[in-house]
């Protein structure tokens, strides 16, 4: 774990670069983290991040399928917004833990 200053705020990140405390998050931090992923955050991205934060706060487990059915974006759209690993990247930008893929 490391403490780092992002967008003028001190945050704690784990070894994979995920916030360890989702309450430290704000939009400016999301924008900075997005840059590291090569993503310019738009309103579309933000809608997804807010959805993820909301569901996370409610204690729900998240999956690509679930986001695809949220009415915010379909799975294809999600891949376009966060190319590579849509749920992994969007979770990181949303300041919530890395999604667990259970075995």
């Amino acid at each position: 774990m490391a403490t780092q200053t992002i967008a003028g705020k001190e945050v704690d990140l784990n070894e994979d670069g995920y916030l360890t405390d989702h309450t430290q998050w704000n939009e400016a931090i999301a924008k900075e983290l997005a840059k590291e992923e090569g993503i310019e955050l738009t309103d579309e991205h933000m809608k997804v991040l807010n959805y993820l934060r909301e569901k996370y706060a409610e204690g729900e487990s998240l999956s690509i399928r679930k986001v695809g059915k949220s009415g915010i974006v379909d799975i294809k759209g999600l891949y376009k917004l966060f190319p590579g690993g849509p749920l992994k990247i969007s979770s990181r930008l949303a300041g919530i833990p890395k999604p667990q893929s259970c075995v």
């Binding site: 399928r65 294809k76 376009k80 590579g84 667990q100 259970c102 075995v103």
Partner: protein, 410 residues
């Protein structure tokens, strides 16, 4: 008279019926088990059918052989559960009341969830082996196949027995070698996971085994659809992989009866407390086996370990006591690796699969995350254990809690 209703008479439900019938006084409790199917399938055996190692008769027996005599058995499709009123409605209109329920309706494959999967080429060039019908169709296909590009695809997480697709490609490698056409067969393993498996140590060991056996791994591939005309699978981010034969692990979902009851998540799995194994929403319902949404493998071994916890907690609940037993997510999977060898992984919610010996520290006889002949015999023996000990709810010489003894942590 209190009524205990077990929905689903597969691995989990059958074990529970046997445990409960031994313990409960029949003048106080009535036990009923419900299933739509009169045949019990030994699902781990389905893996061996495509390669002609087992045939149909090795994996089926009448369910009735395994249900205890003093339990009511109802054969029929469950339409829905009305958990607010403690009632279950069957599709034939019959109504069943209960005081306590053990929900054990498992999971099933849903190829319909992926466009083009169950289409023109279904059971011609596109197969699955999670049903007897599918496994037999693939057996027949392999009998005449001359070789080409075989793609194994996992459609979506989670799916039951997460090692089965790995075992499938390992056994395929051995099978095609033995029949002399391995040089004409290209095997590709396509998965939505970041590697061959999820946890680091197992992924490394299995990844190396893949390489050794010349099986290509394509990670992070989330299939959107299948193009039947051009014979290729296409991901959501538009990667394409051509195939001559596609072996699919289709999306796994719980029964639609769960959806009709409004009791499931988006894959019809039932929200369940991962420690007590009680439904998160209904105090008189416990969830056992693949039907639960708990974060561990959907496997017979898990259902077996979890059944001890459900049994203990249900006993407490019946007597109005606090639920004390806690499930640790223990899973134990044999992995067939071909050529008469096998590996084993043993893990739980908190501990990833580690190398070592099992179940006895330093002795084994099984080697964890190791490829040995003994491990293979473990899997072979498992069929006998399954029919004769596990389903009957008899004690196994194994602890249900995972043990760190014998595991190497560094």
């Amino acid at each position: 008279m209190k009524k205990i209703l077990i929905l689903g008479g597969g691995t989990a439900g059958t074990m529970m019926a046997n445990k409960l019938s031994k313990e409960l006084d029949r003048s106080e409790y009535e036990i009923t088990i419900v299933d739509k199917d009169k045949t019990h399938y030994y699902q781990p055996g389905l893996l061996f059918i495509p390669f002609g190692i087992y045939n149909k008769h090795d994996v089926i027996k009448p369910k009735a052989n395994f249900f205890p005599r003093n339990v009511n058995v109802v054969y029929g499709d469950i339409d829905y559960i009305d958990p607010e009123n403690n009632q279950v409605f069957m599709q034939n209109g019959r109504k069943l009341n209960y005081d306590w329920m053990v929900l054990a309706t498992g999971t099933e494959t849903r190829p319909e969830e992926t466009p083009g999967l169950k289409d023109k080429l279904w059971n011609k060039k596109i197969f699955e082996f999670y049903t007897l019908e599918g496994a037999v169709a693939l057996r027949n296909f392999f009998k005449d196949w001359q070789g080409g590009k075989m793609v194994l695809n996992i459609a979506e997480m989670p799916f039951k027995c997460p090692v089965a697709p790995l075992e499938f490609v390992f056994l395929a490698d051995a099978y095609f070698t033995e029949i002399g056409i391995r040089d004409k067969v290209d095997i590709t393993y396509v998965t939505p996971l970041p590697g061959a498996f999820t946890k680091p140590k197992a992924t490394k060991m299995l990844g190396e085994l893949m390489e050794e056996k010349n099986i290509k791994v394509v990670p992070e591939f989330y299939m959107e659809r299948v193009d039947n005309d051009q014979q290729k699978i296409i991901s959501y981010d538009e990667k394409e992989i051509p195939f001559d034969v596609l072996v699919s692990i289709p999306t796994n979902m719980g029964t639609d009866a769960i959806e009709r009851s409004g009791m499931g998540d988006d894959l019809n799995f039932v929200p369940t407390d991962k420690y007590t194994l009680r439904s998160k929403n209904y105090e008189n319902i416990f969830v056992l086996g693949d039907a639960a949404d708990i974060p561990t493998s959907k496997a017979g071994s898990v259902a077996h370990f979890a059944s001890d916890v459900v049994f203990e907690n249900l006993m407490s609940a019946l007597e109005g006591r606090e639920l004390k037993a806690k499930f640790d997510g223990h899973a134990n999977c044999y992995i067939e690796t071909g050529f008469g060898q096998g590996s084993i992984i043993d893990f739980n919610y908190d501990t990833e699969p580690l190398p070592g010996t099992y179940p006895l520290p330093g002795v084994g006889p099984f080697g964890l995350l190791k490829n040995t002949k003994t491990n293979h015999y473990g899997k072979v023996m498992f069929r006998w254990i399954y029919w004769h000990i596990l389903l009957k709810g008899k004690e196994m010489p194994l602890e249900s809690q995972m043990s760190m003894a014998g595991k190497k942590t560094s």
